[in-house]
Symmetry: C2
Subunit: 117 residues, 2 copies
């Protein structure tokens, strides 16, 4: 992609649900650690790209959610990706501190190993 008008076309071509939202996965760009999954609308995507940091849509507060605005745990955008059928986003980010509000680095700390059954 060469310029901002291209990405605006891409944003329009992504598939949003009936609430105008698309899932967005955040992954640490160098370690490949999976950090979290949240949701974005077109405004959140544009703001993310304009500000160079992850800005999601808060479904509970119904407003833009600038990740790390209060905690300082921001996610600097390294690369913006989307999948083959245009219905999911992958953000490669540089995460400051913990991604999770619990203080864990990743939100996916709950685990079940299949070999425990």
């Amino acid at each position: 992609m060469e310029n901002y008008s291209d990405i605006l076309d891409i944003i329009k071509s992504l598939k949003y649900n009936e609430q105008g939202l698309i899932p967005a996965i955040a992954q640490q760009y160098d370690s490949n650690e999976l950090l979290m999954m949240a949701w974005m609308n077109q405004e959140a995507i544009k703001t993310t790209l304009a500000e160079g940091r992850a800005v999601y849509w808060s479904r509970s507060r119904n407003e833009l959610w600038r990740k790390g605005e209060t905690s300082g745990h921001i996610q600097k955008i390294v690369e913006f990706r989307w999948d083959c059928d245009n219905d999911a986003i992958l953000l490669l980010v540089d995460q400051t501190g913990a991604a999770c509000h619990t203080g864990e680095r990743s939100c996916f700390f709950n685990q079940y190993r299949a070999d425990n059954t």
Copy 2:
């Protein structure tokens, strides 16, 4: 988690959307490569854990989707994870071949670098 009744309780406690679905992210367990995102319902989760391979819910076909059933590109389950607010699943898998129907290893091959703007 110690036994299967525990995981049944966990499955019940996960948060599903109005279609009874929850996002499921698949990640290669050793390289941490992000492979794809799809959707699961309770039946898909139970089948995944029972069979030890990723089984999603196909929203287009409205049926269980045994990943790799026709292509052979199955995803063996190494670990089943879920996030802090119980509304997303992370599968650590061992992917045979390509995860994407296009032949790409990952579905997230479309990319836009913020520094190109």
